[in-house]
């Protein structure tokens, strides 16, 4: 795990702990789990399975009795690529206070590839860019005896777009054309656009 990742996790933890001290108005949810998906089809039509780590923390405010609006950040691993998802989200609850509740959520935002290093040499550059993210979820929570915190299980669908770019720089003396699709100084650009569709199983706390 890179230093940046560690720092991020520590930061998130601090934010989460701070959450305990807030008023009732505040709602927090921190969960860790795994992503499960099937890779794109191979030549024989088979799909390999994909298992990766997923971490998510949601911070919001109660806007109505059973509705919370907030934002979520986290860390998702897709094969070799680490993505930090940042999204606006909603959580809604069904059930009586003090009893296990069913909850639903919806997160809409984008993933960033900040943790991925750009690689460049004399003649080329390659890098990752994150993209659109949407993740509906459902789950169950089991309140603790003090009523303030709850154990939560979530099951989510997560659609995350990620692009990998590989650009070849223009050769000496060639003119670069001005074009939206090709950055100046490049003679070609290959984009591998990944659309990851995953099921997410997570376990955590609500507070």
């Amino acid at each position: 795990m890179s230093n940046a990742t560690k720092l991020l996790l520590i930061g998130l933890l601090l934010v989460s702990i701070e959450g305990f001290a807030q008023k009732k108005m505040y709602f927090g949810q921190t969960e860790i789990g795994f992503l499960y998906g099937k890779r794109a089809g191979q030549w024989d039509g088979n799909h390999e399975k994909r298992f990766d780590v997923s971490f998510m923390t949601f911070h919001g405010a109660q806007v109505a009795k059973n509705n919370v609006i907030g934002f979520s950040v986290g860390l998702d691993q897709y094969d070799d690529v680490s993505i930090i998802p940042i999204a606006l989200g909603w959580r809604g609850f069904l059930g009586k206070d003090g009893k296990p509740k069913i909850f639903g959520g919806f997160d809409l935002g984008g993933g960033t590839a900040l943790l991925e290093k750009k690689v460049s040499d004399e003649g080329s550059k390659s890098w990752y860019e994150g993209g659109f993210l949407v993740s509906p979820s459902v789950g169950l929570n089991f309140p603790a005896k003090n009523g303030k915190t709850a154990l939560s299980f979530s099951f989510a669908y997560k659609r995350q777009e990620v692009s990998q770019f590989y650009g070849v720089l223009s050769a000496s003396g060639t003119q670069s054309v001005t074009n939206d699709r090709l950055p100046p100084g490049y003679s070609s650009l290959t984009e591998n656009h990944f659309l990851y569709r995953s099921f997410v199983f997570r376990l955590g706390l609500m507070y």
């Binding site: 000496s172 003119q175 074009n179 984009e191």
Partner: protein, 415 residues
């Protein structure tokens, strides 16, 4: 009510989960800069009337030719800019002659020669405000013809995005580096200018034009009536031509050809000096030829050096000495002083009175003056670089004094 809407939401979310497609997708797109061929009927090109237009900003300057107080600056494949350079400290952009497919020019008396795809044009420039086309010699640069259909093939800069990168769509093979026309559009680097990188030259009442493989001879005894004499096959990879006395020194990417032009109608080969493959302009004085070899655009396996070749016996040119350089492009000789354009590295000046110790006689190295070619003109040293056209006072050869710079709107990338 609220709990009903919440449950509706949950139901909706569940249905999303159930019906969502569940495997990843990868789409690959490949965007590349290339040249797409454009076919032109020569009859259409000829039918268009060429009228001088108002001055245009310099976009991507190619060759430069000095005529009296004027500078003619080629805009590769587009035409020729005319600038009044009576004061080198303040050149004034006067007008533009649109000539399709033009990459080179030469001036003989008051006649300007310019290529127009397969034709050679002659313009009367005796009145600079009223430039007139006086002659068109048709079908001389026939290598431009696509088959024999009367069509010429030209290339347009294009960016293409494909979802199927592969050999059938060109893939890497369509990289713009490979297209020779990319070299035209970047002519300020690869062919450049009227100085040592010229491909048109005048000598002994004849106009000599070289293309990749052929030397073409025109009789211009009557300047306004150029007559095509004949083509002479040179072999592949011809890049520059430099006249000295009644000899022609032709730089190719495999060596330097020396032609005897004492019978101007029919130059004959005296010698070929072979060296490693590199891009190489040539300048010459009575005893020595100075050749720069560079590892560049289409000649990547070359070396970067200045070679001094003894040409006292023109039939047996001998290498006297070579000096390592950084990335030498064009060069210019003014008396005992040699100026070398070092690409992005700058501009160097040397005293070459002693050819065996040129490296010890470096006078200046202007590292902030990126340059690809230069012309020692009567009033100023004209230096062409990726950022523009600059002029220097070189009356004190050891100390260049910058007079002016014309910025270009589309600087060429140099590495």
């Amino acid at each position: 009510m609220k709990s009903i809407s919440t449950s509706n939401c949950l139901l909706f979310l569940l249905s999303v989960l159930v019906f969502s497609s569940c495997h990843d997708e990868i789409t690959t797109s490949y965007t590349y800069h290339t040249m797409i061929p454009v076919y032109l009927e020569m009859s259409d090109v000829r039918a268009r009337i060429i009228n001088t237009e108002a001055a245009k900003p310099l976009d991507n300057p190619g060759k430069i030719y000095i005529y009296e107080d004027y500078l003619f600056i080629n805009e590769p494949t587009k035409g020729i800019h005319i600038l009044n350079n009576s004061n080198p400290a303040n050149p004034v952009n006067l007008s533009f002659i649109p000539i399709e497919g033009n990459v080179d020019m030469a001036v003989n008396g008051s006649i300007l020669y310019a290529d127009n795809y397969v034709d050679l044009l002659a313009f009367d420039i005796s009145t600079i405000d009223d430039i007139r086309l006086v002659k068109r010699v048709e079908d001389v640069f026939t290598q431009m013809y696509h088959h024999e259909t009367g069509q010429v093939i030209t290339f347009r800069d294009t960016v293409i995005t494909t979802e199927n990168p592969g050999w059938e769509t060109g893939g890497w093979m369509m990289d713009n580096r490979i297209s020779f026309s990319a070299n035209f559009s970047a002519a300020s680097q690869s062919y450049g200018i009227g100085g040592s990188m010229a491909r048109f030259t005048l000598s002994n009442l004849h106009l000599y034009a070289v293309d990749e493989s052929t030397l073409r001879v025109f009789d211009v005894e009557s300047p306004s009536d150029p007559i095509f004499v004949k083509p002479i096959d040179l072999g592949w990879g011809i890049e520059t031509i430099f006249p000295f006395e009644d000899k022609l020194f032709i730089g190719s990417n495999t060596g330097m050809h020396i032609y005897d032009a004492s019978t101007p109608n029919s130059p004959t080969r005296m010698a070929v000096y072979e060296h490693v493959q590199a891009c190489d302009p040539v300048v010459v004085n009575a005893d020595y030829a100075f050749v720069t070899l560079r590892n560049g655009n289409t000649c990547r396996n070359g070396v970067n050096e200045l070679q001094v070749i003894d040409i006292k016996d023109l039939y047996q040119p001998k290498l006297r000495k070579s000096y390592p350089m950084l990335n030498p492009h064009g060069l210019g000789l003014a008396g005992d002083f040699l100026y070398i354009a070092e690409g992005t590295h700058g501009l160097k000046s040397f005293n070459v009175s002693d050819v065996m110790s040129i490296d010890q006689n470096q006078l200046e190295f202007l590292t902030n003056q990126k340059s690809v070619d230069l012309i020692p003109g009567p009033k100023s040293l004209i230096v062409i670089g990726p950022d523009g056209v600059c002029q220097f006072d070189y009356s004190t050869p050891s100390q260049l004094k910058k007079l002016s710079c014309i910025q270009v709107s589309n600087p060429v990338n140099l590495y």
